[in-house]
């Protein structure tokens, strides 16, 4: 029996595979396609203190080996989230990572206080890297000092481990990783999407109503591997690696670069059963290579 379990923030997860926030809702819709109890953890879509409307449509566009999105963090607010989404997840045997968003430090702190009291919540992932909202989001995640301050504020308010989700739209990802660690983060996750643009040359208009959107998918995977490598080398706290993971090989590569957990994002749209396929295929890789514990490969390229 191969051991797929990993330790993360003092907890033991049955395997290292989770979903990237925003690509899987709270698992309610996709539970028709996949047994969510088989996941290492389930990361929910960003939730804020009050309901957010999100951006105008079109919100999504396909790009070569990827897609762009500018949803704008539409969500029903934390009260509905607790009553509906957490109630659904309480009936399942899967650790829950709740992604939190806000327009201001106060909004982040308020949501964190409410959510960290919930026993269904394993960890909180703080979204300081969404490129599609005007205030908050990425504004906190692209400046090292702001990232440090918001991490401190959130950490002070939280009874649960805090994961800071980092933006790749920075010059030095190692610097940002260290700022989060110094602010007290228990873990970091990366990468969120790259700010991108697509123009309809016949209509002479932007394809997305928001003009810009976040690029994700296999197209960005090699960049994500490089950034996870650089960030994880710079800190001692664990890392959730994500960015275009499409198969077990990609997930293993991300772990070798330094990720303890790996998150599957847009490829869930391509194949709803992908995460459980990856878990199965990871075991196949272990058989083939004689690897007993998957945790042995975490950061093995740091050498």
């Amino acid at each position: 029996m191969r051991d797929l379990s990993v330790s993360f923030c003092g907890m033991k997860f049955k395997n290292p595979v989770t979903c990237a926030s925003g690509t899987f809702g709270s698992g309610i819709e996709y539970s028709e396609f996949v047994d969510i109890d088989k996941l290492g953890a389930l990361t929910t879509k960003g939730v804020s203190v009050t309901a957010w409307e999100g951006n105008a449509t079109p919100r999504v566009a396909e790009t070569p080996s990827g897609m762009m999105n500018a949803i704008g963090l539409q969500n029903p607010g934390v009260d509905v989230f607790i009553q509906r989404d957490l109630a659904f997840l309480r009936e399942h045997d899967v650790p829950v990572i709740v992604n939190v968003c806000g327009h201001s430090t106060e909004e982040y702190v308020e949501a964190v206080k409410i959510l960290s009291d919930r026993e269904e919540v394993s960890c909180l992932e703080i979204n300081v890297s969404c490129p599609n909202v005007k205030e908050g989001g990425i504004a906190f995640g692209t400046d090292a000092k702001s990232l440090f301050s918001i991490t401190q504020a959130v950490k002070k308010a939280s009874k649960k481990p805090v994961i800071m989700k980092l933006s790749p739209n920075v010059t030095d990802i190692a610097l940002m990783a260290r700022s989060a660690e110094e602010g007290g983060a228990d873990a970091i996750s990366l990468i969120n999407t790259f700010t991108a643009m697509k123009i309809d040359i016949y209509r002479k208009c932007f394809v997305l109503a928001n003009r810009t959107g976040g690029l994700s998918g296999p197209a960005i995977h090699p960049i994500a591997v490089r950034m996870v490598y650089e960030a994880s080398k710079a800190v001692k706290i664990p890392v959730i690696g994500m960015g275009g993971i499409a198969c077990a090989e990609d997930a293993i590569e991300m772990m070798m670069a330094g990720a303890t957990l790996v998150a599957v994002g847009m490829m869930n749209f391509h194949e709803p059963a992908l995460m459980t396929d990856i878990i199965k295929d990871m075991e196949g890789y272990m058989e083939k290579t004689g690897l007993e514990r998957i945790s042995d490969i975490i950061g093995c390229m740091h050498g």
Binding site: G22, T23, F24, G25, E29, Y30, E32, F33, K45, A51, W52, E53, G54, T57, P58, R59, V60, A61, E62, P64, S65, G66, M67, N69, I71, Q74, P76, G77, V80, G217, P218, M266, M267, N268, F269, H270, E271, P272, A273
Partner: protein, 265 residues
């Protein structure tokens, strides 16, 4: 539910840029009129499924009629008989057939909106005159011009709908759009079902409000997941939506069919 294989049984071109494809797939099972499927291009660099309405479905057989509107649909249109493609579905809510009980039904089909209404026409005609069925089923099919060969018009007739053809330039049928045709021909209705371009659907919404009759419209939007998880395809709603708790409803899940009075176009 799962993503599954579809085998192409036949493919024909109905007119320039419009493809009629019949597929054998378990995704057809249990499909209701007005639902849709995601059709995934085989090219691995095109990762999102194309949301295409179900034109007709029976047992394992699915008929889709779609317009080539980009590289993805172009690739799908180039597939040959016996080739395979991946499909997810059936998805979405579908038409409310019960709203037609005892009513004079008018189906308004604008261009490539027609395929979304054919199965509904068939289902309604099969219960016409019965207690739970409509009194009458009329369809106005609108085209740009005669070069679109009034595609699917014969199918609507075959299933028993009374068909009126309209074209923007008057080169075939009544001159003008589907609403112009309804007015010119003096066609009354107790309920409208419509699918077509957004300006047409806006006009249908206004027309139904003016006449004080219900109208159901099928919307389209760029989609990613197709199952309600990503919130990519939303339409503004008049009231707060029961799922989102904001004034947005998911076209893939609460739709694609909406009561026209409930959405803001």
């Amino acid at each position: 539910m799962k993503k599954c294989v579809a085998h192409i049984i036949s493919k024909t071109q109905l007119c320039e840029g419009i493809i009629d494809m019949r597929l054998r797939t378990e995704a057809a099972r249990g499909a209701r009129c007005g639902q849709f499927v995601l059709v995934f291009p085989n090219d691995p660099s095109r990762l999102l499924g194309r949301p295409l309405c179900i034109c007709q479905a029976q047992e394992d057989c699915l008929r889709i009629v779609f317009r080539i509107s980009g590289r993805g649909t172009q690739e799908i249109s180039e597939l040959h008989t016996d080739e395979k493609i991946m499909i997810e579905g059936p998805l979405g809510n579908g038409w409310d057939v019960s709203a037609a009980a005892g009513k004079e039904v008018l189906l308004l089909c604008g261009g490539i909106g027609a395929p979304a209404l054919l199965q509904l026409a068939q289902d309604l005609c099969s219960i016409k005159g019965k207690e739970n069925g409509p009194k009458q089923v009329r369809a106005i099919l609108g085209y740009r011009d005669a070069s679109m060969k009034a595609f699917l018009a014969e199918d609507f007739k075959e299933h028993g709908a009374e068909v009126i053809i309209a074209s923007d330039d008057g080169s075939i049928g009544v001159g003008g759009n589907v609403l112009d045709a309804a007015k010119q021909e003096g066609i009354g209705a107790d309920v409208i079902y419509a699918c077509g371009p957004m300006p047409m659907l806006s006009a249908v919404k206004g027309y139904a409000r003016e006449k004080g009759i219900p109208a159901y419209i099928s919307l389209e939007e760029r989609m990613a997941c197709g199952v309600g998880a990503c919130l990519g395809c939303v339409v503004k709603t008049a009231e707060k939506d029961g799922h989102s708790h904001v004034n947005n409803a998911r076209i893939c899940t609460e739709g694609p069919v909406f009561d026209a009075s409930e959405v803001i176009l």
